[in-house]
């Protein structure tokens, strides 16, 4: 029992279970899954589908944070990728051609890779603090996205592009499949190869890692490229979901949600050890929280407070110091009474 309690994913899972259970009591048909027009349909499917962008961004953020860095530019990168994709598709002679759409998607992600390289260059080569280095792109990137869309909402009518965010493959949401593939890829890269260890060692101490023969600089650049690529894919899902690019709203404040997901999952912001499963769980909790607030009917004015309370409870439960203070006192009290009885 204590082993289970001490597992670092215990509290996030417990909160997720409580959230889902509250839906069982307070909202209608939450757990019903039906087949609608040949695809799965239900609130649980919504959670899977709508978690996808945040899961992707949180994945990249986990890698960056594991090296002791942080990437604030992910939201802007999302906006740029969606904006560029919609702009290019608008110029296609045949927007329903799958090949052209794939090329457009490739171009958008390629641009994001360049932005990732830029972040990595600032952090690893010029030695600028990550929070400042990525702040530059966070602010400037939003401007780039607005420049691409000319400050307007760009609409596209392209069946293949729509599939990314709103389509289904074998009745399962495509966006969920993309996120799952990204998770599998990241897990394979970091846990099946030495990469995970290298990341943790760079996060633990870049100097010691370099002295031990690890190319810390190259690793650091790589994580920012990963984060930008994942953010780019998330941006495509986001814009494809509503077949339009809104450069103001896309990825707005998602960097903070992603950092929250990473922290909820038990990865420390100081770098070093990281948990991919934890970050994915964190992202799913945040999405579930959003959906639960609507589905249970929390009034608009108190929605943020509701979310804050859940997050605070989870963070407190995860803090060993807090647990020791609260539960520890009970334990000593009990022990003391027992002693008193014995005497």
């Amino acid at each position: 029992m204590t082993n289970l309690l001490r597992h670092r994913l215990f509290w996030p899972i417990a909160v997720l279970v409580v959230l889902l259970a509250s839906n069982l009591v307070f909202s209608n048909n939450f757990f019903t899954i039906t087949l609608q027009d040949g695809h799965l349909y239900g609130s649980l499917i919504d959670i899977l589908r709508r978690s996808a962008p945040l899961v992707l961004v949180a994945l990249g953020m986990t890698l960056v944070i594991s090296t002791g860095g942080i990437d604030l530019s992910v939201g802007s990168v999302m906006a740029i990728s969606g904006a560029l994709a919609c702009l290019l598709i608008g110029d296609l002679s045949n927007p329903d051609s799958t090949t052209s759409v794939l090329l457009v998607v490739g171009a958008a992600i390629a641009l994001c890779l360049v932005f990732g390289l830029w972040n990595g260059f600032l952090v690893a080569v010029l030695g600028i603090q990550p929070i400042i280095a990525t702040l530059i792109l966070m602010v400037a990137g939003r401007g780039v996205a607005q420049l691409i869309t000319d400050g307007q909402i760009l609409n596209v009518h392209s069946a293949p592009y729509r599939v990314i965010g709103a389509g289904y493959f074998l009745a399962v949401p495509v966006s969920f499949l993309i996120a799952a593939a990204a998770v599998a890829l990241t897990v394979a890269l970091t846990r099946r190869t030495a990469l995970g260890l290298l990341l943790e060692s760079v996060g633990g101490s870049p100097t010691a890692s370099r002295l031990a023969g690890i190319r810390a600089r190259r690793i650091t650049i790589m994580v920012y490229v990963f984060a930008a690529a994942f953010a780019g894919v998330a941006g495509l899902i986001y814009s494809s979901d509503v077949s339009s690019a809104d450069s103001n709203a896309a990825g707005n404040l998602i960097e903070l949600n992603a950092i929250l997901a990473v922290v909820l999952g038990g990865t420390a912001l100081t770098g070093g050890r990281f948990s991919i499963a934890g970050s994915v769980l964190g992202a799913v909790i945040i999405t579930t929280l959003d959906i639960t607030a609507v589905s249970v009917g929390v009034p608009v004015e108190t929605t943020l407070l509701f979310k804050a309370i859940v997050v605070i409870i989870l963070c407190l439960a995860q803090s060993p110091t807090f647990r020791a203070k609260v539960f520890g006192r009970f334990a000593t009290k009990k022990a003391a009474t027992r002693e008193a009885v014995a005497a």
Binding site: Y41, D46, I153, Y238, V242
Partner: protein, 329 residues
């Protein structure tokens, strides 16, 4: 303590440099000094290019100034109040005849507007109000009445269900919490429908004025609400997002669920003409001609009302088809 102090000082310096740095970009000083010749000079400070609505607003003001023969000094505040204050001070130094601006935020205007008043330059607020109790600081406020927009939406609903007795379940997609259009469109709508008990708002959540959130919240509504007859969205974009959610649920927007939205931007009007939206209340950005009219009157010393409403209408699918072709925004 010392550390906190130094942070505060550093923060202050940063802010000061930001004010100084950003203000340099506002090139309001181009052209002649203004005020000297017969031509009226109008200094206008815009919020920024935040949406299609705002872009149309800017265009309307620029075009109508040109056709009214008014010399327009246009300044873009890029969403920052300090830029706007700086622009207004520039206008005062240049001694323009009239100053007009769309306030970025509601508060913090008394100092700069007093400066304008002392310099004898009349000020007109466009599209957004300020919450200063001293109404002598500005001549008039021209813009939409969001409560009225909510009422128009409610009126259509009452008429649409006139004579029927079955309960009508309404879901509402609100704008950004705390924003004036969201609060007022909600209360105006609620005021009208409360007269009849068959109307029931079964769920009301924020869609943040964006398509994605509109779609997301509607998806959840469709699952958690057993029966939805009407959707009332505070802007077109949230309504357009919700249409996607309704279609994904295998229902027909406009038929299975009636949809009312506010704004009447081009995308919304297109959906209206296709019958996916049933009714749109216009919130027009094209207040340029009315503004120029007011500017001329103010400059001639005529008295004008403290509150001027933008000329706005409502659209049914048939009306949308007629005007869609030459819709500017």
């Amino acid at each position: 303590m010392l550390r906190r102090l130094s942070i505060a000082v550093a923060g202050g310096l940063l802010l000061a440099s930001a004010v100084a740095g950003c203000g340099g970009g506002d090139d309001a000083g181009s052209g002649n000094g203004g005020g000297g010749d017969d031509k009226i000079t109008l200094g206008f400070s815009q919020v920024g290019a935040e949406s299609g609505w705002r872009t149309a607003n800017t265009k309307s003001i620029q075009e109508s100034a040109a056709s009214a023969g008014i010399d327009l000094k246009f300044s873009d505040a890029q969403g920052k109040q300090e830029n706007q204050i700086k622009a207004i001070r520039n206008f005062i130094t240049q001694r323009v005849d009239v100053i007009a601006f769309s306030p970025v935020v509601e508060s913090g205007w008394s100092t700069v507007l007093k400066e304008a008043k002392d310099a004898g330059i009349p000020v007109i607020l466009t599209d957004r109000a300020i919450d200063d109790p001293d109404t002598s600081l500005y001549k008039t406020f021209i813009g939409s009445d969001f409560v009225e927009e909510g009422k128009k939406a409610g009126d259509w609903l009452v008429k649409e269900y006139n004579g029927k007795t079955d309960p009508v379940n309404i879901v509402e997609l609100q704008g950004t919490p705390g924003a004036a259009p969201a609060n007022d469109r909600k209360s105006g709508f609620a005021d009208v429908i409360k007269a009849d008990t068959k109307f029931k708002v079964v769920a009301s959540q924020t869609g943040q004025f964006t398509r994605t959130d509109g779609k997301a919240v509607m998806e959840t509504f469709l699952k958690s609400q057993p029966k939805i007859d009407v959707l009332y969205a505070h802007n077109d974009d949230m309504g357009l997002g919700a249409i996607e959610a309704i279609e994904a649920a295998g229902k027909k927007p406009g038929t299975d669920i009636k949809i009312i939205t506010v704004d009447a931007v081009k995308d919304g009007m297109t959906a209206l003409s296709e019958g996916k939206i049933n009714f749109i209340v216009e919130c027009s950005p094209l207040l340029g001609p009315q503004l120029m009219d007011l500017v001329k009157k103010v400059n001639n010393g005529e008295t004008i009302p403290q509150r001027v409403l933008t000329e706005e209408t409502t659209f049914t699918p048939e009306q949308a088809k007629e005007v869609l072709a030459d819709r500017k925004y």
